[in-house]
């Protein structure tokens, strides 16, 4: 980028704009006033343009949130007006948009059957236990998917929550320096594992191992998915908890130690409770991550949309449903739109979770320590 043009020096000839109450300054003649301050603030067009440009680019993030909501919801919207067919031009149905994946697989284009059902789609049919989108009588009940997501998320949090929080407590209070220094990169590497890699590991190694230990009926199930998901959630819980624990003022620890409490009593009964809002936020963010994660559950949970009470049955989560089925739907039909509705649901859930987490970290933590 080029250097901005330098504004012209003020004209040496114009007299300075003078404060009317006093006489002009009288500098020694040998050393005149070299730069005259004028009352004419130059307009720096370049500077102004750049600032506006930077501001507009920064607003992209803000606009993006709105766009994501609008465009995900837009595709789902016809479900609620009952005009599902109208949005699916015949030409496109014939072309059978399969999104280029798997040209060898048989195209599941049951357009004639689907058309008959599209005409009278009722939003209330989203509330139901069975998810059978591709059948003669398609059912779009979301309960089994929601239950699947909740099961996996719950298992993941039950494992990753304690592990992440206690690991953070260890590194922030008890760990020798070498352990603390070693923990950081390890957690970063864990966070850096692509979710397909974790999914692959769960599918190939963990599933068989857990089946051998617990004797599961199905090799891939909610529990395997939950354990694998825990691997992805631990870094979030750990990082946010550690931040919260480290934010507890040192004086609180010192005060407790000075009263004769031991190191561990201080950690458990003084520092941990003080960091509660941050740890709560950590759990919420972990929940959000687990609830929306796709590839791990797609590979490790067996993907059967069953509504059962057991944690060791195969499940299909909301996110995995989108991932697995979007590539096979007919553009613009009911199934397509329901998948977008599921996406809108995931969006709203993650948005609210983030808002809650933000509220807890910012407001509660700040109030607690700064007394503001």
């Amino acid at each position: 980028m080029r250097i901005l043009p330098v504004p012209a020096q003020p004209d040496q000839g114009t007299p300075p704009t003078v404060n009317p109450q006093s006489t002009p300054p009288v500098p020694p003649p040998s050393l005149p006033v070299r730069k005259v301050l004028t009352m004419k603030k130059p307009f720096r067009a370049g500077e102004y343009a750049i600032e506006k440009f930077i501001q507009s680019v920064a607003i992209i993030s803000l606009v993006l949130i709105g766009l994501i909501f609008v465009f995900v919801f837009r595709e789902a919207y016809p479900l609620f007006t009952g005009k599902v067919l109208a949005a699916a031009p015949q030409a496109q149905v014939e072309e059978a948009e399969t999104y280029g994946v798997d040209p060898g697989a048989p195209d599941i284009v049951e357009a004639p059957e689907l058309e008959q059902n599209q005409e009278n789609f009722k939003p209330s049919s989203l509330v139901g236990p069975s998810w059978q989108p591709v059948s003669l009588d398609p059912k779009f009940g979301l309960w089994s998917l929601l239950a699947g997501s909740l099961k996996v998320t719950l298992i993941a949090l039950l494992i990753a929550g304690p592990v992440g929080i206690f690991a953070a407590l260890y590194t922030s209070n008890f760990a020798p320096k070498w352990a603390r220094e070693g923990m950081k990169p390890a957690i970063e590497i864990l966070a850096g594992f692509p979710s397909v890699v974790v999914g692959f590991f769960a599918l190939v190694i963990m599933a068989s191992l857990l089946q051998n230990i617990f004797g599961f009926q199905y090799r891939l199930n909610a529990f395997v998915g939950g354990v694998a998901m825990a691997l992805a959630v631990v870094p979030i819980v750990y990082t946010v908890s550690e931040d919260a624990l480290n934010a507890v003022p040192k004086v609180m620890m010192e005060a407790s130690l000075a009263l004769g409490a031991t190191r561990w009593e201080t950690a458990l009964f003084v520092i941990l409770p003080s960091a509660t809002p941050g740890i709560f936020a950590a759990m919420i963010l972990g929940f959000g991550r687990a609830f929306g994660e796709t590839m791990i559950v797609l590979m490790a949970t067996g993907n059967a949309a069953l509504l059962t009470a057991s944690l060791t049955d195969p499940v299909r989560t909301l996110s995995a449903t989108i991932g697995a089925e979007m590539a096979e739907v007919v553009f613009g039909d009911t199934h397509y739109r329901v998948l977008f509705f599921v996406g809108a649901l995931l969006f709203m859930i993650s948005f609210s979770l983030n808002a809650v987490a933000e509220f807890f970290v910012r407001n509660r933590l700040m109030k607690k320590f700064k007394g503001a």
Partner: protein, 302 residues
């Protein structure tokens, strides 16, 4: 009493230490398994050949090239946007600024939106809306050119997904530029933007690079956003333009493990593909950690 206390104390320390250790152990376990399972199949031929025999033999060259192209296009869009946003947040807004707080909230929210939702957005916004509009305007006889998944839409979707990563890391880097340097420049009668351009940015190159690396690492590992915005199961040719689909390492791995015709037979290929993906992200993360470490030590020294 004190005796019981010290026993409890030891138990608490051991238990929390065990939790920390288990996280590290998981890392070692996963890495070990994958290196063990994949190293023998990871040959030069594997890296430089296309898949063969219905993807049960051959290599992964198209997936490597596709991943490379994906992250390059993604970075070209995402890194400048992220950097500029970070500049705005750290240099042009005061602490109480409402707009800045909204943007920060948006960035945090973006970071929390599931990758699959970005995929849907890419499909709805880029493929359908943008691509559809382009085709309506420029494509004769309603032929689909832009209104289908391709590498451009996939890369743009990925750029949005990785935007928060870039913003956060660049902002952190910009904050390490000492306030004194900015003041030195301003006190010489230099304008704000000139100060940013001549002093702040040159001194945060490391951070911008770190942000870019982290974004690339994240982008190379995510699959959900490209599932229906451009990744292809198998393509005989490498992409030639923005409107072509592409193969990608993570997606290839997903397909191989879940939809391969012979999962058992291709297991070595799966391991080796995982290993390549892991080595790639690992190298990138290592680079980022190293650069950040250097940044931090500079801040301590300053």
């Amino acid at each position: 009493m004190t005796r019981t206390k010290s026993i409890i104390g030891k138990a608490v320390v051991s238990f929390t230490g065990l939790c920390a250790f288990s996280a590290v152990a998981a890392v070692v376990w996963i890495m070990g398994t994958i290196v063990w399972g994949g190293h023998s199949h990871l040959t030069w031929a594997f890296l430089t050949q296309a898949p063969a025999a219905g993807m049960t033999e051959g290599g992964i060259l198209p997936a490597i090239v596709g991943t490379f192209m994906l992250v390059v296009i993604m970075s070209l869009v995402g890194v400048p946007v992220g950097t500029i946003t970070a500049i705005y947040l750290s240099e042009y807004t005061s602490r109480g600024s409402k707009l800045a707080n909204f943007i920060r909230f948006a960035v945090n929210t973006l970071a929390g939106i599931p990758a699959i939702v970005f995929g849907l957005f890419g499909l709805g916004f880029f493929v359908q809306f943008t691509g559809g509009t382009l085709d309506r305007l420029f494509s004769p006889e309603g032929k689909l050119v832009w209104a289908q998944p391709n590498i451009l839409w996939a890369s743009l979707t990925m750029a949005l997904l990785t935007l928060p990563v870039v913003i956060v890391s660049v902002e952190e880097a910009i904050k390490t530029v000492p306030r004194e340097l900015r003041e030195a420049s301003l006190a010489l009668g230099v304008t704000k933007w000139q100060t940013i351009w001549r002093v702040v940015l040159p001194n945060s190159v490391g951070g911008i690079l770190t942000g870019a690396i982290l974004a690339v690492s994240r982008g190379a590992g995510e699959v959900a956003p490209i599932l229906f915005t451009g990744a292809a199961y198998f393509l005989p040719n490498l992409p030639h333009g923005f409107t072509d689909q592409f193969m990608e390492l993570g997606y290839h791995l997903y397909i191989m493990t879940t939809q391969s015709t012979d999962v058992e037979k291709t297991l070595p290929i799966q391991y080796a593909t995982t290993l390549v993906l892991l080595l790639l992200t690992f190298a990138l993360n290592f680079g980022a950690i190293f650069m950040r470490y250097r940044l931090r030590s500079r801040r301590v020294a300053a």
